[in-house]
């Protein structure tokens, strides 16, 4: 291979890498996603949860790590719900039936909504499945997690608890 083609490949490779590293959104007021019930109907936006710490989790029936994350989120909702935590599981399945099948197998004890068109996912810039977005009581997006791994669950929990403990900032 000549130097020239080597450079071409190098540039292509760099292009891929830099695209993958792109990120953004943290520290900014979260967009007001419009969410509906699974199967359609009943619109709701994220602003409805103002004052609570919102844990927005984007999931789908075909996503393996999602099945692992549900028991963790169930536990989190049960234990921290009284402190003001609202876990919102946003389903991105194109067919509601798939989501119901998944829920039969892996039940969810937190609020479930749907975003079949992917509009909210697009607004929040979802880059991976599953993705969790932690929004504080002021509606500011604070943390984004790509994927779910059981060993990272404790770190996630610590972040949620920190957000719950925050007092309102002096404006």
């Amino acid at each position: 291979m000549t130097m020239r083609s080597g450079m071409v490949y190098g540039i292509l490779l760099w292009g891929f890498i830099s695209q993958a590293l792109a990120d953004g959104g943290v520290g900014v007021k979260a967009p007001s996603c419009s969410l509906s019930k699974i199967g359609g109907g009943g619109e709701k936006t994220l602003e409805a949860y103002q004052g609570k710490v919102i844990y927005v989790d984007f999931w789908a029936s075909w996503c393996g790590p999602c099945a692992q994350s549900f028991p963790f989120m169930n536990k989190l909702q049960k234990e921290l719900g009284s402190k003001g935590l609202s876990i919102v599981g946003v389903n991105l399945d194109e067919k509601a039936g798939d989501a119901m099948g998944f829920l039969n197998q892996t039940p969810a004890h937190f609020e479930l909504v749907a975003d079949a068109g992917g509009k909210c996912a697009h607004e929040l810039g979802v880059k991976a499945m599953p993705s969790s977005y932690l929004i504080d009581r002021q509606g500011v997006l604070r943390f984004i997690h790509l994927g779910f791994k059981p060993t990272e669950a404790q770190a996630l929990r610590d972040q949620v608890e920190a957000l719950l403990d925050e007092k309102s900032p002096v404006k």
């Binding site: 789908a60 996503c63 992917g118 979802v126 880059k127 499945m129 599953p130 994927g147």
Partner: protein, 104 residues
């Protein structure tokens, strides 16, 4: 495309006429070298353009079990093992990663 096939033919003829003791790098003529480069460039360019932008949440179909590159891996391995012992060509370069749900 026809030019590509032409290059292939030259490559194959070179492969057939040469002697076994020639070193690999000399084995292939200049046309074969450029053929290889051409193939890699094609692979990369295919990757760059011609693909739709698929959002992470639109990978439902790709995540289906039968959409994996190898839906029955141990069976495939057994069959490749048998083919490899009955045929001269070596196994495929099937990669060990890619496609699927793209979950982290």
């Amino acid at each position: 495309m026809t030019r590509l096939f032409g290059l292939f033919k030259v490559c194959m003829k070179a492969a057939k006429s040469g002697q076994a003791t020639l070193a690999f790098s000399r084995r292939f003529s200049y046309s074969c070298n450029s053929l290889l480069r051409g193939l890699l460039l094609i692979a990369f360019s295919v990757v760059l353009d011609g693909c739709a932008e698929v959002q992470p949440w639109e990978r439902g179909n790709l995540a289906k079990p039968h959409m994996g590159l190898q839906p029955f891996p141990s069976q495939a391995a057994l069959r490749e093992h048998i083919y490899g012992s009955r045929e001269s060509a070596s196994g495929s370069t099937a990669s060990s990663g890619g496609g699927g749900c793209g979950c982290y």
